[in-house]
Symmetry: C2
Subunit: 584 residues, 2 copies
């Protein structure tokens, strides 16, 4: 079944659902009812508030309707006639008026059974095309008419639909699994981050364990970049508004720039880091001998997100960017981009994600060439340069029109997580524009002033979003090198073996391993079950035998068997797995 057909099915099910709703609420007003990812929804103006208890009943009725093999028939009506016909229906009137204002003279309707609805289609020919076992109603939510909170709150009913029963089952299982892996839930259980009403929404506080993950990721980025001359720099979180007027961000962000009320200057919170980095470049004269200069930084930037859009770590107000800007000559672009791709490979290999990705060569929208800043010849050169490099580096890049940044084309890396969801994470972007705006120059090898090229790049994007992705991808069971607690030590008896367990922990700590000792006075069984929920890669239960110098008994996360190895062997094994970032 192709994409088109499944969309027709979803759209038709939205009408069938409305038929079922109207049987219960004949006077329900109808808002919009589009196809969405995996399903559909429809907004209703009902006389009462309904709960999700109603969904099975509606679903059952829909199955019956589908079985009746109802046909979908289209017909058209003159706009004015339609407006007159529906003059008592405020929703239809508004929707038809929109179409009229957009220049339409006729509007389309679909009839199924005795239900007629304003609808552009397309639909299935008859409900025979729909598999009754392959759809489900999933939830009810409130939604303002036209998305405007000044309007009436309507009732939105969501459904999902697939081509067959198997696909629905897989989807529902994935949703169930995603719920279990929800980073907000696991973040709390594993004590990785917290929110405080006093601090404010969208402003995560990273606990010691969450900070270990952040710092390990940062160190991995530094390590991967060192070989290629990446140099950390440090900038503040505010700047004068003028900085962003110069860069163009003041125009772009407008009202979304967060003002900072100083008594002395007009400051804003930085929404991006590139303008600050240009000012380090500009702080002294530069020669071609100094280039490339490769500034990198993990730094927080701020966005005034709407309270309703804030969600866990995926949408926050304090965003820690793994940001970086390389300033180089035109001839150096190729090597620099290639090196950045190597850094991306090294970093994602350490997470077991490299290979599960595709690369987008994101270029201008050829139908809207005016939506970009800079000269056409610069763009042509940059796009063909990136395309050539993508070929040379065997990135197998897919050319995607309209996905370029406003200042230049880019290469985006899309990674797939263990639930099959796709995330745009790494990006390498060419920019011929900002260096000019800031008047950046270098003296070239003939003694003349030239403008450097700027390469914006992020390897993991934002730490917050990346951590959300990793937590859900690994279901909290991080690779050894990233685990906040790498070895969980459990004394058999708190009374007899705690001191020895602590000595062992100290020894492991001195060897560079992160260890936690369970000091609670509980049964070994309970302590092992507790440790398992904390997802430490290794659990060591230590009693008389182990503390007397005999082999340690190692429980490796995710396996049933236990392994006996000497302490020395175990320490060496763990050290090796950490330093080599062995995937689990």
């Amino acid at each position: 079944m192709n994409e088109k057909n499944i969309e027709n099915i979803r759209h038709s099910l939205s009408h069938i659902m409305t038929m079922a709703v109207l049987e219960l609420y004949p006077n329900a007003g109808l808002g919009v009812g589009p196809v969405i990812e995996n399903g559909f929804y429809q907004d209703y103006d009902l006389s009462e508030k309904i709960s999700e208890d109603i969904l099975p009943r509606l679903e059952q009725r829909m199955k019956e309707l589908v079985k009746e093999n109802i046909a979908f028939e289209q017909y058209s009506m003159d706009v004015d006639k339609a407006l007159d016909f529906y003059k008592d229906d405020e929703y239809k009137t508004a929707l038809i008026t929109d179409l009229q204002e957009a220049g339409e003279t006729e509007v389309s309707f679909y009839k199924s059974g005795n239900f007629e609805n304003l609808c552009k289609g397309p639909h299935v020919a008859t409900t025979k095309e729909i598999d009754r076992r392959a759809f489900a109603l999933t939830k009810i939510a409130g939604a303002y008419w036209r998305g405007d909170e000044k309007n009436k709150m309507l009732t939105r009913i969501y459904g999902v639909a697939f081509e067959n029963k198997e696909a629905l089952k897989n989807y529902l299982a994935m949703v169930e699994e995603a719920k279990k892996r929800d980073h907000r839930k696991l973040g709390k259980e594993l004590d990785l981050f917290a929110f405080s009403d006093l601090v404010g929404a969208g402003l995560p506080l990273f606990t010691p364990k969450g900070t270990i993950i952040r710092n390990e990721l940062q160190q991995a980025l530094l390590d991967a970049g060192k070989e290629y001359g990446m140099q950390p720099v440090t900038i503040p979180h505010i700047a004068k508004r003028k900085l962003y007027e110069t860069s163009g961000h003041a125009d772009k962000f407008g009202d979304e720039l967060i003002k900072v009320v100083s008594h002395y200057d007009e400051f804003v919170m930085k929404p991006v880091n590139c303008p600050h980095h240009t000012q380090i470049y500009a702080s002294r004269p530069r020669s071609y001998r100094d280039l490339p200069l490769r500034y990198i930084e993990s730094t927080m930037q701020y966005r005034d997100e709407k309270p309703g859009e804030i969600a866990g770590l995926t949408r926050v107000r304090a965003i820690t960017c793994d940001d970086g800007h390389t300033f180089c000559t035109g001839e150096q672009i190729k090597t620099e981009v290639a090196n950045l791709c190597k850094i991306i490979e090294t970093f994602y290999t350490g997470l077991g994600l490299y290979g599960k990705h595709w690369v987008s060569l994101s270029v201008r929208d050829s139908k809207n060439p005016d939506g970009y800043i800079g000269k056409t010849e610069d763009w042509d050169m940059a796009e063909s340069m990136l395309e050539e490099m993508a070929k040379e580096l065997k990135l197998d890049a897919k050319r995607v029109e309209g996905e370029a940044a406003i200042y230049g084309p880019k290469i985006d890396f899309m990674f797939e997580d263990s639930l099959g969801r796709e995330w745009q994470l790494a990006t390498v972007q060419l920019d011929f524009n900002m260096p000019k705006r800031f008047g950046l120059v270098y003296t070239d090898n003939e003694g003349k002033e030239s403008t450097p090229v700027m390469i914006h790049r992020a390897i993991l994007g934002s730490y917050e979003r990346f951590m959300a992705v990793l937590i859900e991808h690994f279901a909290g069971a991080f690779p050894l090198w990233l685990s906040p607690v790498q070895v969980h030590v459990i004394p058999v008896s708190t009374e007899k073996h705690l001191a020895g367990a602590k000595d062992l922990a100290k020894e492991l700590q001195n060897a560079g391993v992160r260890v936690e000792v369970d000091e609670a006075d509980e049964t070994v069984g309970k302590k092992i079950r507790k440790a398992a929920t904390q997802k430490a890669p290794y659990i060591l239960v230590v009693g008389e035998k182990e503390l007397s110098g005999e082999d340690l008994c190692i429980r490796k996360r995710g396996t049933e068997e236990q392994e006996n190895v000497s302490k020395k062997e175990f320490i060496e094994k763990v050290q090796k797995e950490i330093s080599e970032k062995v995937a689990w």
Copy 2:
């Protein structure tokens, strides 16, 4: 000579200076003229703008006056009479009115020669007490009458004075040396940090080299703290105003809190970090088994400093604190404070500063016991506890009244730099108050709710101020472990030896050493002189001989001699000196 006498000398010289000024400007109005550190000043309302060219002439005349052995005689005058007598002198009238408003009925004057001045004294008996070779006039600056920019700008003449010629000479030499070491000057020469008009005053940008120093300091703090269970956490730079209303900082900072204009919440930029850290503590239930919790963080906080008060790195608007808060039980305070003192010892030993310090036991002002928050019995306990610990730890602490924090007593470490200047850097502070304000609790070993104690601590204070101190203390010649460039490699001939020099640099880099290769096509002599100004600890000049495998020729900073050692030996030596933080 005691402190009192030198103050009399300085004060008397201020009068003598005015006698000399009045000879040139008989109608000069007289503002204030106090004794200050190392000297004195006097404000004059002159008919014209004068330049510092006049200083030698004034100084010469002062020496003549001092030689005349002029006597200082005091007399008093009834306030009303004085006001009438000086009714044409706006400055005297204002100053006498102040005294009258403060309740004085008589005012004091001093007469020296034919010069009479409103003055409380004391002074020398005669100028015989003043060493003519031990004072100097140093500079002229503008100063608003009463420090208010709405008033007239007066002319302030500064002088310095000491008990003898030797002391003046030492002081002037120190000033000269301090100018050479000025961190703003060296920061530019060594490319450590920069400022940008577009970013704003007081907002430093740390270059790659400056960031290396920051990061090395941060790593040294982490290393020193690891053994004692310090755990890095991560917080954002803004919070709701309510957080500081709860902590009490909103009251304390008032108008100085920097507002952040969000469309959705009332945010401010954090002026301190403790309230955020309390919220990590509060994010889950805590038991006595979890304590102590020791959160540390190097994070920027913001203060709305006046433009006129901003200076280099010593007074900035974005302040990176090496902050930390330990939450513990009352019984744990002692060990925790002792461990913090050990961390301070380790850290400052690595900078060669430990030993050149004294410790202040900063307690309440017994004359003003109401200026503090919290119960008297908590204060008594905390102060005696700190005193006891200071004794046990042999800190040789000096009890200083009135220097406690508003929420508790503290131990402050004052370090002396190579110019003999004293800096308050490390601090350990007890706080029984903030945990209560935030309602922090833990379940004690009897299952009851208890309030933890909070220990605020900073090891280096602010990174910006600390870097300013270090740059000036070391005159930019940092210890090896802290040097942005540890080995400076100079090829004898760029044409013949550059490739070999780069290979050698790579080898050193792989061994964890920071290296820079001079690629300029200049003479070896010039390259060595250039390298010396960059103050790399080691300079390696490499030519045919060195690249053929013979011993390397090492130039160590600050010594004349050159040493020949094998490459292997050199690498091992450098690695050892770095890891042991050998002082230079």
